[in-house]
Subunit: 173 residues, 2 copies
DNA sequence: CAAGATTGATCTGTCAATCTTC
DNA sequence: GAAGATTGACAGATCAATCTTG
């Protein structure tokens, strides 16, 4: 059933290297934290701004560009969304008047997503409460040094994830 | 627009306490890490076991009980799911033969979710590859001391989240 | 025809009823 | 009637086409 079952492998099945108690504990705590932190933030935004986490960040990333404009594909990258998900999502935000889309005049293959005045106003109105929440749930808990360490740990995890997703290299290449 | 706009508040609008560059950086890195780690694990499980993260953990939590049985409400707690979400989810797992449900004989208000032999076999077949992934993405990156610190940080965040969700206390109570 | 983007079908999660048992 | 659980309608995400532009 498992694709990694060594059916045609002459070696005996590998012993599974289970997590020990401390590792298991650390892992579960991390998973629970990630789940609940995400949920807490989603709830705050939904309640106070009627925006999902990713909708908020879509508006936020657009607002950071001097011309309040990003290509759909770039916006997808910075929001960690697939282009398909972003396209659906931007359609909805467009329907609410927060974003509009137009083809890039330089190259019609690209679509520019543009933050409208309404969208910017929405962000400005929503940001304070959200920043308060991020502060009170995360930032205020840690000293400067701890926050640095937390960032460093996150970066190390990100590096692992990235390298695990690189296409497999050809042996001997 | 924002519910926290002090429309009828005589005090001047509060200055928003924005994040400074380091805080912003730490926060974004943490968010990105949580997003991508979750996605990496979801993908591994989907690919190797045709299970979502929460489906896997539903089977796993059941398997830890000596009688491979938990009440739906308890299972919802340990998987961090709403009862409604769990009910839909268990229906699907039941359809695949991994779980069955029966009313608690002691008290018909409760429903017991029971891991079937098929479900247990599925878990046993799926666990090694998943544990490998957790190891290679997370556990192997950190020393024992670092892992302890990571757990501690997560616990502190969890404590913040919990206390932020307590019902507001009555002043003077 | 390759890259960017959209679309539609399907699946999963959420929310607000509803049902059941004590 | 209260707690546990389920249900159905709806919103959102994913995946595999499909469409468009250069």
């Amino acid at each position: 059933m498992s694709p990694r079952e060594p059916k045609h492998d002459p070696r005996p099945p590998k012993e599974v290297h289970w997590l020990d108690a401390k590792q298991e504990d650390a892992w579960r705590t991390l998973v629970t934290m990630m789940t609940r932190l995400r949920r807490a933030l989603e709830c705050q935004l939904e309640r106070d701004a009627d925006l999902s986490f990713i909708e908020y960040h879509t508006l936020a990333r657009l607002s950071e560009d001097p011309s309040h404009t990003l290509r759909m594909s770039d916006l997808a990258e910075v929001t960690d969304a697939s282009l398909s998900r972003l396209s659906h999502l931007v359609s909805r935000l467009e329907g609410r008047g927060f974003i509009r889309r137009e083809p890039d005049p330089k190259d019609g293959r690209y679509t520019n997503a543009i933050l409208t005045n309404t969208g910017n106003a929405k962000l400005v109105a929503s940001a304070p409460a959200h920043v308060d929440e991020v502060r009170s749930l995360v930032i205020d808990e840690f000293s400067e040094a701890e926050l640095r360490r937390l960032r460093k740990y996150s970066e190390r995890l990100l590096a692992r994830i990235e390298s695990s997703q690189e296409p497999p290299t050809v042996a001997g290449a």
